[in-house]
Subunit: 223 residues, 4 copies
Amino acid sequence: MDQDLDTTASPPRRTRRKEARPGELLDAALDLFVERGYAATKVEDVASRAGVSKGTLFLYFPSKEELLKAVVRHSIVGLFDRWSSEIDSYTASSAEMLIYALDEWWKHVGCTKAAGICKLMTAEACNFPELAKFYQQEVEAPGAALLARIVRRGIARGEFRAVDVDYAVYALKAPMMFLMLQPPASAGGDRPFDAERFLRTQSDLLLRGLEAAPHGVGPGTAP
Amino acid sequence: MDQDLDTTASPPRRTRRKEARPGELLDAALDLFVERGYAATKVEDVASRAGVSKGTLFLYFPSKEELLKAVVRHSIVGLFDRWSSEIDSYTASSAEMLIYALDEWWKHVGCTKAAGICKLMTAEACNFPELAKFYQQEVEAPGAALLARIVRRGIARGEFRAVDVDYAVYALKAPMMFLMLQPPASAGGDRPFDAERFLRTQSDLLLRGLEAAPHGVGPGTAP
Amino acid sequence: MDQDLDTTASPPRRTRRKEARPGELLDAALDLFVERGYAATKVEDVASRAGVSKGTLFLYFPSKEELLKAVVRHSIVGLFDRWSSEIDSYTASSAEMLIYALDEWWKHVGCTKAAGICKLMTAEACNFPELAKFYQQEVEAPGAALLARIVRRGIARGEFRAVDVDYAVYALKAPMMFLMLQPPASAGGDRPFDAERFLRTQSDLLLRGLEAAPHGVGPGTAP
Amino acid sequence: MDQDLDTTASPPRRTRRKEARPGELLDAALDLFVERGYAATKVEDVASRAGVSKGTLFLYFPSKEELLKAVVRHSIVGLFDRWSSEIDSYTASSAEMLIYALDEWWKHVGCTKAAGICKLMTAEACNFPELAKFYQQEVEAPGAALLARIVRRGIARGEFRAVDVDYAVYALKAPMMFLMLQPPASAGGDRPFDAERFLRTQSDLLLRGLEAAPHGVGPGTAP
DNA sequence: AATGAATGAGTATTCATTCAT
DNA sequence: AATGAATGAATACTCATTCAT
């Protein structure tokens, strides 16, 4: 890298760090919000974990609430754009798409700290109606739209039955939300909860409900 | 007695209130906790909604946290005893039992304010670990145990396949949790979410996965 | 006694207790005030230790502060009348009188709970100026007056030097106050504090300072 | 620097205050604690007397209790180190040392607000056992140790009789405590109490009890 | 851009006192 | 005389946010 060519020429630390600041703050905030919850996270702790002072944080984010929104955008919203274009260019079967979608979600959200953010947003929804609306618009709706596109594609291509799309999406979302709300690990019951197994099981079940073959009842068969 | 002659003759105000207080406070607390969340609910508001002063509330509940616990017990825990004995005396098929169970849950929890309490407990879990444990022990565990009993009965009677009971229970819980987390109404998307329809759809799907007939994949088929 | 003659004729419990109430409350209050301090003593605890309800206490004492005053009067003030007449009729030497006085004080105050009350009054003096004045007038002043009478008698009879009476009284009071302020027992240092020994030592010292023999300096030799 | 040219040029306000804050707060707290007692002193009042807001006080002292401890350390504990080294280097007679010690105590504690703190600590001892222990360890014990060292030195050098050291120390402490507990001024009796005269008188008396000459009884003659 | 000292609104809980019964 | 349910004033401490430096 450039840095290796002339280490003395590397930009003054200040400058380089300056550009990294928002990201460092966002990372710190993500960690702490997920660990401790929104209310229990002090902005000062976020700042000091990012190695800056409290005042500096407010230089980049006008309020704690905006900081949370930024964390949500940073860790989740960005994913949708990529997923959306992938769907456009996808050529495999719709069932495969759905499995791929759930898999991607698991890899990038479900098994990461981002899942904690979803849980937290659900949690704080009633305390901060504005945050709730933000989350609904920026996360829930786009996510549902993505799933809906896949389902519609499957129906259009005759791969899926003509189910009620909205309810098929709900059925897909339910296990994802369940996973995200699952307590981190310990507090659970006796046997460790195997999230991937649960997810696989659920997707099998759901796909069977969606597939075009004459099965009988399915999720949201039109009334 | 005289009182019998004139039913409008209410007992002395002080006395009557004394007995009614806890219930009135519990009702007020339920409303406010669900509306505003735990932290945002001021004990004073609970008291004044119940028509008493702040001090009086503390006569009946030693702390805000205990008040919340009492609300949980009052609105949820009590149900388990009844359900448990109903299961014992039930004679119908296990599939019918499961449908009945979900239906009962919907009637007494899912579509009532008690659902809001479940949402709230999930929400506040990380902020108040002690509350989380309480909820896990008094609600989550008994609820899961009830469902597990039905699933096991189905398996024992050859009505269900020999699925992994724990994962079958997870699969049953997922849609219930999804429903409870659903925003009250407004904030939702364009089309109103029909919870009962969702529930019916989900239970069809799940029963199909459980039933003994040779279907193929199902929830938690042993690996 | 009369009671023994006809136990069936003893007044109904209610009545008898009624007369005993103030005393029982006073005893309970003395115990608790000394054990826990003024602020930390709840009137409800006083009442329940006396076997009555909170409301009843207020029937006899109009406020917590008045209750404390009553305790002071009950446990201390009463002693002064007796001591005062004893002094009048005393014929022994003034030194013996002084020793008797300190001994009496020790027996009836110094080594009893009443000492705790003195400590408490000193403690709360700054918090409750009115109480302080009350204590000064009802206890400090009469006590000092008693001592002053003995000292004056000694001087008048040529037993003591013509010391400054006020300062002789202060010198007598100092060890008494020191004793009363001594922590109950435990918290002290390594070796147990032997109050009686301290008192004996101090009175020897003081009497030597007072005695008429040509000793040199003494407490408060007139300037 | 420029600043040196004009000594009236005060350092930037923020900076100067920062350094002065703890001291200003300590002074304010000392005043109020002594005037009103611990419980009756509101932290907000301390803060505003020091010219800062409530929050600022908590920037420097983590709790009201710690504030009181800091006041004690600031006004009393610091004196012991100086006194201790003075004793080491002292060459005069032990009687002079004792008189010097009492004099120093009077100048730096007895006639200052610090005396009020001692009174207050004695007062609040029963209400706050932890504070009591702190005071015992940080003030009572070192003070007694200092006096004990002087007494032992006197005995070792043949200036004092071989009295029981502990009880000699008690005898020395008694008049000091008496002085500190004396009401500020007003409430006293008719004639103004002359503390210095009392102190002089007492030290004469005590020294006579301690001195090696064959006098007879003395404080703590071994039994 | 960065700091960190200062701010002050916000809230659960206690307990002496009252008064209807 | 006795009760005990009801009251409400009173207070330490936290933390997001500001702004002088």
